[in-house]
Structure formats: C-alpha cells, structure tokens
Amino acid sequence: MTTSPGRRAGQLPAQERSGGPGGQRFGRITDRRPSGSGPGGRLGTYFVRDDETATTYSFDYADIVTEGFRTIRTGERVRFLADFADPGHASYVIRLDLPDIEDYYE
C-alpha cells in the first residue's frame, strides 16, 4: 500500500497554474485596431492587458489559438504567453469564454 502523501503527480505545480515570469498570463482584450497584421498589414491588431501586472501586449490574428474563425472582441478574457524574446508581444492567445454550443442554434 502506498502511504506517501507528498507526491502531487496528479496536479500541476502552482507556478504552472498561475504563470511564472515568461509563463502563461491572463488578461482582457483592451483594444482592437483594423490593420497592422496579416498579409499586407490588412488584418487587425489586438491588445491585451495583463490582469496581474497591468502590462499591455499586442498580438495579431495568427496568434489566436483556434482551428476556427480568428477574431476576438474587446473585453474578452484570454490566456496568453509573454515572450521574453519579443517584449510587448503576446503569443498563444487562447479565448476562455466562448459561447455554449446551444447558443449557436437559438
């Protein structure tokens, strides 16, 4: 029988959950501009404000992790990665609050 209480293999370490420096961050979209990204700069640029540090990062449509339509609205809550190699840029932006499936059929 196993009695060791110390192992936490079933869970993520806390720092992975909350995001250490350079790790995952949480924030809200604060602004969207109609151009500046995509081929020929004809696609939108987005801005996200870090919940914790209040730092603002920018990203473009290709940074949104989805297999579907790439857009995001102001005020939306996201998780993202802050990249030390490219300060001020957010990557791997994941939308957290998408509508329920059934809402699409109302």
Binding site: T2, E16, Q24, R42, A62, T66, R79
Partner: protein
Amino acid sequence: MTAELDTRLVRLQAELDDHARIARYLGLDFERPIQSLGDGYPENAIAWVGKITERLLKQLWRHHDVPGTPAGKTLKDLIGGCRPYIRSSRVLESLRDIQRLRNRSAHDGYQIADEDGLIAVRRLLDVLAWYTSTESGALSGHAPRLAPQVAAKAEFLAGLYVTLDFKPAKRFELSRHTVYQLFVRERGLRSEYVELLLSRDAGDVAQVLAATGGQLLQTQLPKLTRFLILEDDAGGELPEALREDRRVLSYDHFMDAFVDLDRHLADVAGLYPRLDAAITPITGDLLTADERSGQMRISEAGAAAALLEQVAAGGGNLLIVGRPGSGKTTLLKQLVASAASIAARRYRFFFDLSLKGRREAFADFVTRTLAPYMAVETAYVFPVFCYFARAGSVMCALDGFDEAVPELTQAGFLGLFAELTEVVSAESAVVMTSRVSFLEDSPQVRRLMDGTSLMSEKLIQQLHAQGVDPLQVPRFSVLRLRDTESGGSLLGARLEHDLEPGGSAAAGAGGVVSTRAADTGQGDLGDLLWRHITAVAGPALLPRVVEFFGLAFLRGVTTFTLVDLVNELGMAAFDGGRVSFGSFQIGELFRPAGAAAGSRDAAGLAGMGVAFRHAAYQELLAAEFLRPPQGRDAALTAAARPRLTEQVRDFLARRSGPAATGDCVVPAGVYLVGPSHHLMLRRLTRPVRLDEFPVTVRRYKRFLAAVAGGGSAQWDHPAMPAGYTHEPWRERLRVPGYYDDTVYDNHPAVAVNWWSAYAFARFEDKRLPTSLEWEVAARGPDGRLFPWGDQVDLPAVNCADSWSDHPLITYEAWREELDRGMLRDALPGPVDGHPGNVSPFGVREMAGNVWEFTVTVLDDLDEAVICGGSFDNPYRAVQASSKGSYRRRGASNAVGFRCAEDLT
C-alpha cells in the same frame, strides 16, 4: 443554561481535553468554544471553532508544503489547499460543515441556535480525532520516535478507522518500529474496539514482547478485532502467543481484511468480453498537453498494455480513449486481472459505468458494485473505498465514462466528474475509458481533464457549484488507442470471427480471434453488428427490437429488467414460456447486468438486469430508429434532449441511403445537428430553399448598382446603425481589385458586413438562413460530417490544407505553415470550383472557401453566427457543424454569405 446543555458541554469539554497536547503545541484554547456556549453565545463558539480550524489547517498546509502561503487565506481556501492530504471524506465533510456554520453565523440575517454551536464543536472533534490520529510530530508537537515509514503506515491505518467512525483511544510507541493503537466506536450502549499492532517484522515484535516481560498489552478483545500487521511478513518466526489471539497480516495485504479481491477479480474476468481469447495486440499513443497551445501531442507510442501498466504501477490518473470497439474494455480488464500476479497496486477494482443508472449517484453505484466484496457495513463501503482510492492504495478502473454521463453536454459531464473527484486525489490511480469523440473533441472537457488553467469562467463557476475547487482538479494523462492498420476494430474482428460459418454461436464465449482477423477486418462495424442482430432476432422480432431498444437508448435507458423485456417484447421473445436470461431469444446480444439500478425486485429473477454486450449494438438500433423522419420526430417527442453519441451519428450516416432531392429545398422535419461532442436533434418547422451557391461578386455588384440608383432604405435592417453604406471594405481586401476585375465575378462576395448581407437578401426578396437551416442544408437528414459525406476529401474543399503540402492537424502545424509563407496565396476561390462540395440537398460550396453569415445573432455578444469554415482554416474547421461568431459590423476576407427563401 439547561441542565441537558450543561451535561453535553461537560462531555464535549472532556473530549476536547483529550487533544490538549495539540492545543498546547499550537497555542490554542479549546475551552473558549465551550465557555461561549455556556454563556449563551453560540455564534461566538462557532467563531472560535472556525479560528481553531484555520490554525490546524495552516499547520497542515505548511507540513505538506502546499504551494503558496497559508497566511491570510480564508477557511474555504485552506480546506481547498489541504484537501489532497485529507483522505477521509468524513473529515472533509466536517471541515465543510464548520465552514458553512461560520459563514452563516457571520451573516446578519441568520439566527444561530445552541444546537449550531454544539454541531460546530462536534465537527471540530472529528477533525481533531483525525488530526491526532495522524500522529505526526510536525502537526502535533509530539517528538517523533517512530521511524518515518512506520509513522506513515500507522497514520494510514488510523485514518481508515476514523473513516469507519472509530475514535483513537490509546496509542503507544513500543519501539522505533512498533506501534500499538486502540480504536473505539460506540453503537448505542455497546462499544466496539479494534486493536492494531504494527511492527516491522516478527523479530521486532518478539523483541518488544521480551522487553515487556513476555506479554504485550492485556485486553479481552476477541481475535477478530485484534490485528498484528507486519511490514515484512518474511522476517522470522512469530511467538506462538501472538499468533493465537491476533489476526496476523502483512501490511501490503491488510486490505484483505476488508476486501475479497480474488472473488472480485474472478467475477470481472468472467464478464464480456472474456479474456480467454487471444486478441490482437492493441497499440496506442500516450498524449500530453502542450503547455503553450493546450493541444495534445504524442509523448510516447507503443503497445497499449505496456503503456497502461507503466502508468498504473507508477501512479497518476489516466484516460484511455478510442473508437467504439477499439479494445478499451479489454485493455482495462486485462489491467485489472493482472493484479493477481503483481505486487504493486494489486488492489484493482473494475467498474462498468454503463451499468450505472443515469440518475444513480456515483456513491450508490460504487456501494452496489462493491458491497458483495467488502466486509464492512453497507454505509461504509463508499467511504472506505474512497479512503483507499484517495490514498493511492487501489487502482480504480472506470469503464465507459461517457456511458454514465447523464447528459452528453458539458454540464452533464461536469456533474459526473464532480462526483468522481471524491475518489481522485493527488495520489490516486484512476484509469478510465471513454469514446474519443466525447472527451477529446470538446476543448473545454479536454482542458478540464488536463487540469490546466484554460477553463472558462463559466466552467469554473460550474465546478464551484458542484463543490469542486478548480485548482484541485486532478490531471489525467491520455492514452489514445490506434485503429488496426486496416482500419478495423477489435470488436469487428470478434464479430467477423463469430459470424463466420462455424464461428462461435455464442459470440465472445472464448473463441480465438486472430491478429489476421482484425487486420483484415474490413467489414463495416455497423454491417457486422446488423448481421448479428438480424441473425439473432429474426424478421418477426426485428422491428420491435429496433423500436424498443433504439428509442430506449435515445431516452438514456441501457439496462433492462426481464420484466421490462416481457412487457415490451411479449412472452414470444422467451422460449418455452419461461422468463429467464437463458430463455431470452436474443440473449446472445446481451450480458447480465446484475440487479438493475432502481429495481424494486433486485433480489428476484424478474429484477435481474441485462444490457447489450457492447454499447454499439444499441447505438446501431438507435441509428436505425432515427433513419426515417418519423423516427427522429418520435425521438424528439420522447426526450427533450435525446442521448446522441458520435457512434449513433456515424451509424446513421453510413446506413442512410442517398438523399432525396437536389433542388436545394430542405423539408420541414427533425434533423441531427451539432459537433460530435454535443449532438442534438432540432426541428425545422417549415421548408426552406437555400441558394445553390454563396452570393457572388457579380450578384453583389448588381445590388450595389441598385443601391447607387435609389438607396437601400427599403432593404435595410431596422436596427442598422446610421451612416453605414453597403460598399465592401475595400481597404481590407486581400486582392485590391476583387470587386473591379471581372475575373473575380464568380468568387464569393466578401469584406461586406452582416447589415449589408441582410439588405442584399431582402433586395433579392429572400433572407439570410438561420444557423440551423444552414447546417441542416449542409449535412442532410443523416447528420454527415461534411456535405459530401463523412470521408476526408481534400480536392472537394478550399481550406488551409489545400494550400499546404501536408495535413495541418494542430495549431502548431498551421502556424508553422503560415510563418513559412505557404498560406500566403490562400484566397477565396470560384463558388463552383469544387463540384464534389455538394450537400445531400444539392447545395454547393458550403464547406470551406468562406465562412457564411447567418441571420442568427448571439444576443449577449451582439455577434452573428457564421458557418462552414474558410480557405485559411484547417480541415477540421470546415465541417458542416463548424461555427463561429463575428461582429455584425465586421467585414472579413474570409466571410461571405448566401440567401434562403421560405416555401409555403
């Protein structure tokens, strides 16, 4: 103060005094709650209990090095943080009670009675009893004398008896490796005792015995309640005196006193599918989540059984996913059965979740399943099982998780998952199986199982509502089973073998299924199952079998009593006028399922439960039931939310004939819609005709000319904001001359907003389709994945994969391709560029090319629903059910539209 209250307070104080050492060590005053109650201030007593509990938990937090600081944490947060280290569900309940009482007492509107204060103190005593039983020096201030591994084992045993409502009465550390514990439980006027003597080996016990003058502690307890537990039972001869009056067990087999493991394993092995047949080796991929994108990637590949055993022995929680019939149950049963021959985690329990009643609580199901094998009172079966599971002492195998979910929705999943968290902890080993489509295709569910923090606020709220702390959700690795090289399945191979001339009449009764049979198993699974069903049921019984069992599945009913079967199929379904499983004419398709959940006659024959031997049989009957329009209508009438699995949809799509029309008219009726993890039946109340093609640049230019001539007021949406024109957003166009160069006239109109699409439709005396109409028009009456069917057909669609030189399965692959410039030329193409991109109703170019606006608006977001995927999305996103939303004023190169018109 009444005399009765006074007596109770004196008694409680005496019990609190038993824990005086902890009070001294932590600087706590256990008298204050009792004084407050005596003075008539129960709210103050509760506040004191709350404070004491916080101190205890903070100490526990530091002891276990829970990440973060406990300082400033609320009681709720402290309970959440310490939860993985408190194995006893009873203690957790007591902590939650204290938290609830304190919340209530802090709230102005609530009256706090003496009884509330007494309950708080009683719950504190439960916590203290457990706390004391852990006997950790770090927690109690007691100088450690026992070797750490002995202390840990003593703690485990004590926790077990606390779970059984015993209280620690005596505890003596007789040497560094030997500890004596006495527990007592009161049952009315009777007191029950259990005595445990834990030691390293026989030599240590003999030494202790000699040091105490030839006798250990003298008690008059019967042998059955006196245990000598040895860490190593091969360490020499025990003194005869100890053998005579105690049950002697090794620590690793102590659970044998509670569980008849051998009988459980024998029963599991005897159930379908039997393990005595040689089976095709099953291979799989161990998946882990990419920390950045949250998507799954392969970390290891190989023989599934070896990967599984590796995880099971090492600990951790695992989800096995695979297509129906891919061998999930067989693998899981093999894993459980192998327990008989191994030392590590040999206590393995198998639960067939398909037999769990949809409304039956998980705790009740576990109790019903395990009670025959456990030597504890029924009320303790679940708490004891949870204790073992949470301590990592047992491996819990849950087969068919998807089959036990009450509703195939996120909320339904969460409900069951929340119940399961009772048995899952940081140390637990839970292995469960599920269909690929259900658990893997839903991003939300996938993220939950992965335990990442990518959860939506709604999901977090739902978890809180279920009493689950999102931060404590355990993480599951995923083992995805592969199909055989030929695309066949283990179930298909078994069926082919059984249906061969000379094959086993009673399929699954132990025939040899060769590797070759599986690899050449090209036969469609649905066809094989249908052959089996028709061969067994015969033409007379078949229609009723389809109707009854098909509809039952859609209503969520998968186990049946023999009484049900007589009532629904008649006595003609039983040979010789005898109602028994053996005389049931189509019994070959079924397996015994014990007493059906909720059966009032569980002990009798009539209450005996049966279920299909594999869920795929009943899913096929459900698909058959849904094939005719009246079947779908009846299903929606019978159940507001019919149970629809991806396998039902798959069978329906494969077994439906060609669509009736090619005139783009969608008749009124009930249709199957939704992504594979959330399938639904929805009713179209009136027929509608969709445009054969998306609106082209040519058509849109005619509209622009009409608007230029006389304005658009007559066609505009009444809520369209002032100042809008219907000109495309030319600055946004990837091809600047898109609306000027006639070469694009036959391309879809893009970069126009929803208001313009709406006005255009009215200009043509039409309207935009609803998202439901759009999807039904694309997937037809059989619920196919793509307009042309279920097969991947790259030449039929304009999507990102068509512009690349390899499949773009993940975000990473798509992003890499974009960064390489391979998608630079990806653009919308002519609307008639893909002749194969045609729906069963004759509607063209619905998948890929451009997303299409619909009239359906998400009110909360003020965004319109768009359908179908576009040229820059990977293949997975261009399914008939693909949906997104886009702001109504937005204009994108990837979004166009088509029109619809009502038919009377």
